[in-house]
C-alpha cells in the first residue's frame, strides 16, 4: 500500500467518525459553504474574468468574445462555448492532455446552468440574423483543487459574465456594451455519504468517495440543472431534501456575493 493511499484511508476514517457524531472535520454545518472570495476583472486582456476562492479551491474564469456564425437552428442568437481545463498545476491527479471525462462534465454542467437559466440574453447578441452573432467563450481554468471545483467554477463563471464588456468597437461594430445578464444561476454540490449530505465538500471530505449531487437553481429558485456524479445509489428522500438545501444555499450566495440588481 502506498503512503498516499494510507493517508487517504486515515482521512476517510476521520471524516466518517466525525460524521457519526454529526460533525464535519472543519466544523462547518452540513449546509454551509466554505469562505468565498470573488476577485472580478483580474484578467484585463479578457472581456470578463473572475478568480474565485472557495476555501482553498481556486478557479479562474475568463470570457472572450468575437463575432462568428450562429447555429443554423438559432440564427438570431449568440453562441456560448464553455470549456474547462483541469491543468496539472491544480492537483497531483490531473494530467496534461485533452479534456477528460471530469473536465468535460465540469464544463457541461456549468454550461447548462448558464444556458437553461437563460442568464445571458442571447437575442441581444445577434449582429446580423443568420450570418453573424457574438460568440462567447467561457474558459474555466482550475488552479487549485481543494474540492468542489464545480461550484467554484459556477460562481466564477457568473461573476466573470457579470463584468464582461462586449468588445464591439474592436470589431467595428459600434460601442462596447455590458453583456446583458438577466439571471444568476448558482450550482450547489453536495457530497453524499449514505443518507447524509455535506454541502461544498472539501478535498479531505471527498476522500470518503467522490459521490456528489449538483443542483443548480436560478434567482426564482427554479431548478435549471441537476447532475448526479459518482457510482452510488441516491434515495428519493435525500434528493428532495437537497432540492431545498441547494436552493437555500444558492440564494445565500447570490445575496452575499452577487448583490446586483437584475
Amino acid at each position: 500500500m502506498k503512503a498516499e493511499d494510507i493517508l487517504s484511508e486515515i482521512k476517510k476514517d476521520y471524516v466518517l467518525a466525525k460524521l457519526k457524531d454529526g460533525e464535519r472535520i472543519d466544523g462547518r454545518k452540513f449546509d454551509e459553504f466554505r469562505k468565498i472570495e470573488i476577485h472580478s476583472g483580474i484578467i484585463q486582456k479578457a472581456e470578463g474574468s473572475a478568480l474565485v476562492k472557495l476555501g482553498n479551491t481556486q478557479v479562474v474564469v475568463g470570457i472572450k468574445m468575437q463575432p462568428g456564425e450562429p447555429f443554423p437552428d438559432t440564427p438570431d442568437k449568440g453562441v456560448i462555448i464553455t470549456n474547462a481545463e483541469l491543468v496539472p498545476l491544480a492537483s497531483p491527479t490531473f494530467e496534461p492532455g485533452p479534456p477528460d471525462e471530469h473536465s468535460v462534465e465540469l464544463a457541461r454542467v456549468v454550461d447548462r446552468g448558464i444556458r437553461e437559466s437563460e442568464a445571458i440574453d442571447l437575442e441581444k447578441l445577434c449582429i446580423e440574423p443568420g450570418k453573424k452573432v457574438w460568440i462567447i467563450f467561457i474558459d474555466i481554468h482550475a488552479v487549485d483543487d481543494d474540492g468542489n471545483l464545480m461550484d467554484a467554477s459556477s460562481i466564477a463563471t457568473i461573476s466573470a459574465l457579470l463584468n464582461t464588456k462586449v468588445p464591439a468597437s474592436r470589431f467595428g461594430l459600434g460601442e462596447d456594451f455590458k453583456l446583458p445578464i438577466r439571471d444568476l444561476p448558482i450550482s450547489v454540490t453536495s457530497l453524499i455519504v449514505g443518507n447524509k449530505y455535506l454541502v461544498d465538500p472539501s478535498k479531505d471530505e471527498l476522500s470518503v468517495g467522490e459521490n456528489t449531487l449538483t443542483i443548480t437553481t436560478d434567482k426564482n429558485d427554479n431548478i435549471v440543472a441537476i447532475q448526479k456524479s459518482g457510482g452510488y445509489m441516491l434515495s428519493e428522500e435525500l434528493f428532495y431534501e437537497l432540492l431545498d438545501v441547494s436552493a437555500r444555499c444558492a440564494r445565500k450566495i447570490r445575496e452575499d456575493y452577487l448583490k446586483i440588481i437584475i
Binding site: D73, D221, N222, A225, I226, K228, G231, M233, Y240
Partner: protein
Amino acid sequence: MLKPKLIVDGKRLDGRAFDELRPIKIEADVLKRADGSCYIEMGKNKVLAAVYGPRELHPRHLQDPSKAIIRYRYNMAAFSVEERRRPGPDRRSIEISKVSKEVFEAVIMKELFPRSAIDIFVEVLQADAGSRAAGINAASVALIDAGIPVKGIVTSVAVAKVDGQLVLDPMKEEDYYGEADLPIAFLIRNGKIESITLLQMDGRMTKDEIKRVIELAKKGVMEIYRLQRDAIMRKFMVEEDEG
C-alpha cells in the same frame, strides 16, 4: 425553425398519452463474440449493448487490487443521426459514458473480481432522444446475459416538460423543443424500485414539478423493467430448451 405545437387535444405528436412509453423491443444474447449482449428498440432508437469480462486489464498499473474496474463506452454510429456525424467520441458521448459507467459501478458486485475489467459497450445505430436510457436498459440485460453478478436490474427513462406538460419518454421533437428534460435510472430489486442510479436534468422546473417527474418516471421504468425481465427469461428458456 418555428416550434410546433407539441400537445394537441391532450395528445402528443405521435398520439401517445402523457404517461405512455414509445413501443419497446428487447432481445438478449444477440451477439456471438461478446460475453453478454442485448438489442433494444425504444421508439426509433436502435441500440446494441455488449459486455466483455471480467477480463484482464492492461496496462497493469490501471488495475485495482480490491475490485474490478468498470468501463462504459457510449458510441454513436456515423449514420445514427440526421446529419452524418464524424466517428469518435464528442463531449456529449464522453459525459454520457461517464454517468452511465457510474450507474453500473453502483450495481455490479465488482469486489468479486479484483484486478480485472468489465467492459460495457453501447452502440447507437439510430438515435431519437432517449438513447442514453436505451443504452443503460440494454446494458443491464447484457450484464445478466454475461452472468455478471449485480444487485438488481437497472432501468432508465427520461421525462420531459413540453408545452407546460410533463410527458414520459420524450421523442426527438419533444426533447428538442421542450422546456426541460430529466433522464433518470433506478435500481430495481425483487420487482421494487430501490434507489436512483442516474440523475441529470436540464431545463427549468419547480421543485414540485420535479417530484411529479419522478413519479412519472417510476411508472415508466416499471413497464420497461417487465420487458427487460421477459427478454432475460426468453433467453434462458431457449437455453434450457437447447440444453
